[in-house]
């Protein structure tokens, strides 16, 4: 039973500018995004009494509390691993609020992901040569893009998925970025031909298939639905939030074709009292383009093996039947580890996106492979 259903809301969202070289510390960006989110909600920093963060973040709860002039937090928490945290943090914030541990919980992420340490370089690993990675890293399997390539190559083999279908995802998200002035790739449209002639990284994945490493910060505030009703913005209710953890798999074990979306979907949609057909807009965690194709299948938006044709037919574009990543996503807005997808879906449900989906009522957001998802509603 989903006891969280519609009890809490995302009441304010904030960001810094997304750039390739912020020239600022992560703490300074975290403060700016947090202040923007708090002001967006019509609250003051004194109203914030809870805080949750990415374990991977360099900014601690106490540093950000001090940065905001908050003397004391009644609730704090944090979540790893990197790509899996964003939706689970919303679950933690909603749990804390719905159980009276805090009234207004700030969720934040701040990272110099382009000018600082770049995740795509393979230098950020925690178990170099040890435990499971002893069986992958010695073979040169060092960065997440290689794993994504291994997975989609098999999908291509089994279902006839094509590189042009991956290209369709990239071109679509770039088109969305061109509608969104905040996107790093705003004003830089690409064609399928540009895609097909771009630099190959992890064959069959090209540079455009990979998340756009970026500097920036995102934050939002979670409060009770009751309080939200009297706040500045139209409340965006949290109809369901999952925080899941698949057992270690993939890589050198079985499971290349098993992602978490299929496991989460029944509980996620059921708990929100809806079906996939009720979803109007999606924010998928697109660290690499292939996941868009497989997630559409996993969450039940199309049959298994038909994600490629689904995207190639233009069905995930703004204005089409199921718009995905309408801000440009990680591929073309900025790689903010899922936080910018949450913010964009909140904007959609407030009916204030640059690529607005008409009458959007229900939104789906997810985190990295199978680690959490949200159903948000207007």
């Amino acid at each position: 039973m989903n006891t969280l259903k519609d009890r809490c809301a995302i009441v304010g969202v904030g960001e810094t500018k997304y750039t390739r070289d912020s020239g600022r510390t992560e703490l300074s960006m975290a403060v700016e995004a947090a202040k923007n989110a708090i002001a967006d909600a019509g609250l003051t920093t004194a109203d914030i009494d809870g805080m949750v963060r990415f374990t991977a973040d360099s900014t601690s709860h106490s540093e950000l509390a001090a940065g905001l002039g908050i003397p004391w937090l009644r609730y704090y928490s944090e979540l790893g691993p990197l790509g899996g945290a964003a939706c689970g943090l919303v679950a933690q914030a909603a749990l804390a609020v719905s159980h009276g541990m805090a009234n207004n919980v700030l969720v934040f992420r701040s990272v110099n992901g382009r000018s600082g340490q770049r995740y795509g370089s393979g230098v950020v690993t925690t178990r170099r040569g040890q435990k499971g990675s002893a069986f992958t890293e010695p073979y040169g399997l060092l960065v997440p893009g290689q794993s994504s390539a291994l997975r989609i190559r098999r999908h291509m083999h089994e279902f006839g998925t094509t590189v042009r279908q991956l290209g369709a995802v990239c071109v679509t998200f770039r088109k969305h970025a061109c509608m969104n002035p905040r996107a790093i790739m705003h004003g830089r449209p690409i064609t399928l031909e540009d895609y097909e002639t771009s630099k190959m990284f992890f064959d069959p994945l090209r540079i455009f298939d990979c998340a756009l490493e970026a500097d920036g910060a995102c934050a939002f505030v979670v409060s009770s639905a009751e309080a939200a009703a009297d706040m500045k913005q139209p409340p965006v209710l949290i109809s369901n939030a999952t925080q899941c953890m698949p057992a270690e798999q993939g890589r050198s074990e079985r499971g290349w074709d098993d992602s978490g979306g299929a496991r989460m979907a029944p509980e996620l949609f059921g708990g929100a009292g809806i079906t996939p057909q009720d979803i109007d807009v999606i924010g998928f965690y697109d660290h690499f383009s292939p996941v868009i194709i497989t997630k559409l299948e996993d969450y039940g938006f199309c049959p298994r093996g038909e994600g490629g044709p689904f995207v190639e037919e233009g069905r995930i574009e703004a204005g089409a039947e199921l718009p995905v990543n309408t801000s440009g996503g990680h591929l073309s807005e900025a790689y903010m580890q899922g936080m910018n997808q949450i913010i964009e879906v909140v904007r959609q449900l407030r009916h204030r996106s640059y690529a607005q989906v008409e009458d959007a009522e229900f939104g789906l957001v997810d985190s990295g492979d199978g680690s959490g998802a949200l159903v948000l509603r207007r």
């Binding site: 795509g120 370089s121 393979g122 230098v123 170099r128 040569g129 040890q130 435990k131 499971g132 990675s133 002893a134 069986f135 992958t136 890293e137 010695p138 073979y139 040169g140 399997l141 060092l142 960065v143 893009g145 290689q146 390539a149 291994l150 997975r151 190559r153 098999r154 083999h157 630099k199 190959m200 990284f201 992890f202 064959d203 069959p204 994945l205 057992a247 270690e248 890589r251 050198s252 074990e253 079985r254 290349w256």
Partner: protein, 135 residues
């Protein structure tokens, strides 16, 4: 010595026997005596049924390429001298999967379904890596 710049395995008590056997050019797998399944990488309990009743069994060392990728950009200094770099997921006849590389083959020739067999590549005094070649 082609993998000198990639991280080398640091054996632990759960997989030391695997690496000891590789040094002797034997590929071994963990097999569960309760559910009869083999698995890899080696772990202290069966990932399918959690049993601790495990044994080491010799693998036939034969399988097929299940999937592959070719790295074409030096995303990390370790790749600088060795592009294009092929990585394969081999499905062994025992049903387990193993990440590896194919030796003596232009990466452009890798195909899904290709029959392969294990070979051993000594990379340090302690470590010999199982790799595969097309057959």
């Amino acid at each position: 010595m082609t993998t000198a710049n990639f991280p080398l395995p640091i054996p632990n008590l759960d997989n030391q026997v695997f690496w000891d056997n590789c040094r002797e050019h034997r590929l071994v797998l963990r097999r569960c005596n309760d559910c009869q399944e083999s698995f890899h990488p080696p772990k202290p309990t069966c990932p399918l049924c959690s049993s601790e009743n495990l044994e080491w069994v010799a693998s036939e060392g034969k399988g097929k390429v299940y999937t592959y990728t070719i790295t074409r950009q030096p995303v990390n200094p370790a790749f600088r001298e060795r592009l294009p770099w092929g990585i394969v997921d081999v499905e062994l006849t025992e049903g387990v999967h193993m990440i590896s590389n194919l030796v003596d083959l232009d990466p452009e020739q890798i195909e899904i379904g290709m029959d392969v067999e294990v070979v051993f590549e000594r990379v340090s005094e302690e470590i010999t890596l199982p790799k595969f070649r097309a057959v």
